[in-house]
Symmetry: D2
Amino acid sequence: MTFSTRPQAEPRSAYKVFRDISTRWADNDVYGHVNNVVYYSWFDTAVNGLLIERGALDIHAAGEGHVIGLVVETQCNYFAPLSFPDAVVAGVRVAHIGSSSVRYEIALFPSDQEQLCAAKGHFVHVYVDRVTRRPALLPPRLISVLETFR
Amino acid sequence: MTFSTRPQAEPRSAYKVFRDISTRWADNDVYGHVNNVVYYSWFDTAVNGLLIERGALDIHAAGEGHVIGLVVETQCNYFAPLSFPDAVVAGVRVAHIGSSSVRYEIALFPSDQEQLCAAKGHFVHVYVDRVTRRPALLPPRLISVLETFR
Amino acid sequence: MTFSTRPQAEPRSAYKVFRDISTRWADNDVYGHVNNVVYYSWFDTAVNGLLIERGALDIHAAGEGHVIGLVVETQCNYFAPLSFPDAVVAGVRVAHIGSSSVRYEIALFPSDQEQLCAAKGHFVHVYVDRVTRRPALLPPRLISVLETFR
Amino acid sequence: MTFSTRPQAEPRSAYKVFRDISTRWADNDVYGHVNNVVYYSWFDTAVNGLLIERGALDIHAAGEGHVIGLVVETQCNYFAPLSFPDAVVAGVRVAHIGSSSVRYEIALFPSDQEQLCAAKGHFVHVYVDRVTRRPALLPPRLISVLETFR
């Protein structure tokens, strides 16, 4: 951990779209704060929820499409604790759209009012052909939605 | 499972207080619907959230109070599937307040509009002395809040 | 909660098949013991693990079979706390095999040596036609495995 | 994602201590494989389990010590899918011991036989004074255990 280059909390203005997350009793661990693992379930929830709402992901056809998105990397930095029963707001932006991959960056804000995030991270989806498992092009409909998250 | 006596879905009017629950990507299991286990995390979340909001439970003093509530029984009946990313509303009522125990009954509604619950269940808290683990009286502040959930 | 009829902890001899469960850090809640919700994830894990091992459930064909098992009821009684990092042993028995339903009863033992369970409960699966959602007969292969759990 | 520098799967020989992880039904998501979030709960479980076993972490005093370890960063790369009901083995090594921080690196192997990991990642703990929240020295007992994980 080199302090000179360590990640910094970002403001809400650094993110493009937002989604409310409600915390749960089980999110808190023995220390009384949301466990570090739970943040990743919020990343999935924020991004997939946004994609579903905008018609870029059909969850009920999840097992049927020709291409599927595989998570190849996830990462998170934690700046301040979050706790149930507080509400959380997830901010999302798309940092990179490749031919067969997309990088989502997500920040978690303690409330609607708070300007600095309590944590931020990213995950990378690589799209592959369901059968051959070789890299596949991002679906056009997905790309058009992703462009609005840049 | 005797069909003549099997539990029936209840309407919203059978519950006293309500709390919004937002579903998560990880709630859905391999069948594409919220896994049966997750419903119980919503029971905890709805009841404890209501108690905290009303000053009847101090989560940060969770390890410090003289008496603690132990869950001794939980139960749930499932009538219809729920799925991420749909919103859920939890209805709560208190069915029994004993000298050292309380029975919460919870129903989960698929949305604000839906009148019949998709699932309902209960859990029983028994309060005990933290040290001796013998049954203890419900705290007066808790009782006064519970009375409003009847 | 009528104390005269309240459920009692049962010995290992009351169960037919066993499966080791390893606890996880996140199983413990703010009180330092396994949260009541987690027990149900162990019920699913023990029963489905046994069914898969014995060829009665094909998880990769989960979305493809003609009939599917829906959970219609779950229940659990808690007698003593369990905590990470302790190992747990799940005991399973089949209490009822109907034409289209099966009732699993599960107990959780704190270790290989402990004779009395820390919790016990049940869940009921009803099998339905995937398309029509009307009750369907239990698959013959499943029945033959279930008979060995009685 | 620059392919020339992308992370590579490592062999078991690159890790120092190992711990068995049993998968759970709920670990699989709608795609039939263990969800990316679950891997982090295994990281916590493997490291904290090892620390508890060796006397370097007292979970029941978790709320009482003068210093506490805060997770400030987590990261994971995924190379191949894992699925319930398969067993998993976690390999752990300590990559850095600072005055107030420690970096754990963890890999997940699909079985006792498999030499290449299915995923690998890390998390960084920073120790702080419970009250002032300023960085604190690692406890000597912890350091002596960590040295054996290098």
